[in-house]
């Protein structure tokens, strides 16, 4: 509705904006995350976390965190969450885990779809995905995104993460 006021100034963008609005009513954007297959003698599924950081600053919002939820033995699977060092500092350390609808078990290599929260305030964000693997490496991938999502984005890791795509 308010976009009509912007139309004279941005005639070229208008069709895109209109098409985007029709194609995705109400949010419902998803992020797809690829965990690459890595050929090593000792493979452990990585801990992977995805979160949104408002560009203007403010609290990070964790969208998913995959870790060893039901680890057997003396030490809890949460011990290695701090290895997701950027997320840990941006807010992971103050989270109560497990968290309903957010935390889950580690995933095998493959591509996974995760819905973005439907109640995100409009604005500019960076979606970050961080992966850390036992006896392996650690990688962080960032994808800028504007909410509501009209135009997606994609970025790819080079070792521990494959493509991260928002659409």
């Amino acid at each position: 509705m308010t976009t009509s006021k912007v139309l004279p100034a941005l005639p070229l963008l208008a069709p895109l904006v209109a098409a985007g609005t029709i194609a995705s009513p109400a949010a419902a954007a998803t992020v797809s995350v690829t965990i690459p297959r890595i050929n090593v003698a000792e493979y452990h599924r990585p801990y992977v976390v995805g979160w949104l950081e408002p560009i203007a600053g403010g609290t990070a919002r964790t969208v998913f965190v995959w870790y060893d939820v039901k680890k057997a033995g003396r030490e809890p699977g949460t011990k290695w969450l701090a290895d997701l060092r950027t997320w840990w500092r941006k807010g992971g350390r103050s989270m109560q885990l497990p968290a309903d609808g957010v935390s889950g078990a580690t995933r095998a290599p493959g591509t996974y779809q995760v819905a973005l929260p439907s109640n995100l305030p409009a604005g500019q964000y960076v979606f970050k995905v961080e992966a850390a693997r036992e006896t392996g490496g650690r990688e962080l991938v960032s994808v800028p995104v504007t909410v509501p999502v009209k135009k997606g984005g994609s970025a790819s890791g080079s070792a521990e993460l494959g493509a991260v795509t928002i659409r």
């Binding site: 030490e75 809890p76 949460t78 011990k79 290695w80 969450l81 701090a82 060092r85 950027t86 840990w88 500092r89 350390r93 103050s94």
Partner: protein, 288 residues
């Protein structure tokens, strides 16, 4: 042999306390500073050496080490052991928040004369130099343990108050700042950037206080570890601003040794003329 070792050890410790610029550095090296959950341990090396963090000189005594928990209570060391070059101990980090672990010392040192004979205070019976009391083959040194024991007829009383602290900070889950509550006495750290959330691509900011007031123009040395694997030490000699704030850029991620020292003429002991203060910490700077 053993006795001479003790003499050398106490001498080098006294030297480190008396002049923080001395090359021998006391350091604590934690296995990590950031933990997830409250079921973990941190294990710490403690030593005195020139190069950081390479133990090749003397161990620090675990008996000097105190553990301050986030709630202000005193924690305990486990498995203390003293080796030839370094000591080691564990601390169970079983409460969330930021813990402070290290040594804290306040002493008065100096000399005075009684009937022309030189006496020492806080010198631990150190030799006094050629021909003096305690020199090889000479009479044992005359020393007293406290200011109160200085006799009334003492002359040439020269006393220095020495305060020093050497710390590491370990955080389980979210960091807290209770262990940084200033006492208003001596040289203290009032961090702007929390020492357990340093990242190599972000500037570290630390305010230093002397007697609770911003310590302007304070000299601070910041040294990255692993000198062995570089050409030079790459120490930074920095100075606090008028607001007492130190701005530190980290050339690489890793463990850093930070040492601040100051001398003034405001000792809390009335008979002392000078006060020497030093603050030391080992901090972990993460890769971004």
């Amino acid at each position: 042999m053993r006795y001479s070792h003790i003499l050398i050890a106490s001498a080098s410790l006294a030297a480190a306390l008396a002049s923080p610029a001395s090359a021998h550095r006391q350091w604590l090296l934690p296995s990590t500073t950031t933990l997830a959950g409250t079921s973990e341990y941190v294990t710490v090396d403690a030593a005195v050496s020139n190069d950081l963090f390479y133990p090749d000189h003397f161990p620090m005594s675990p008996e000097q080490v105190t553990v301050w928990m986030p709630d202000g209570a005193t924690g305990k060391l486990e498995n203390p052991a003293t080796g030839r070059y370094r000591s080691t101990f564990d601390v169970k980090i079983d409460k969330p928040g930021t813990w402070k672990i290290g040594t804290q010392r306040s002493a008065v040192m100096g000399s005075f004369k009684v009937d022309g004979q030189e006496w020492r205070l806080g010198g631990r019976g150190r030799p006094m130099g050629a021909g003096g009391p305690g020199a090889p083959g000479g009479a044992p040194p005359r020393a007293v343990a406290s200011v109160a024991e200085i006799p009334a007829n003492a002359t040439d009383v020269k006393l220095t108050e020495v305060q020093s602290g050497n710390y590491i900070y370990v955080t389980a889950d979210a960091p807290t700042k209770t262990v940084f509550t200033a006492t208003g006495k001596g040289l203290e750290l009032d961090p702007i950037t929390h020492p357990d959330e340093l990242v190599s691509n972000e500037e570290g900011q630390f305010r230093f206080l002397i007697d609770g007031k911003p310590a302007a123009g304070l000299k601070v040395t910041v040294v990255p570890g692993s000198k062995k694997f570089r050409e030079t030490e790459e120490a930074q000699e920095l100075t606090t601003g008028a607001d007492g704030v130190l701005h530190v850029k980290w050339p690489v991620a890793g463990m850093y040794w930070i040492n601040a020292s100051a001398t003034d003429n405001k000792p809390s002991e009335k008979r002392a003329t000078e006060r020497r203060m030093s603050y030391t910490a080992t901090v972990e700077v993460m890769a971004p």
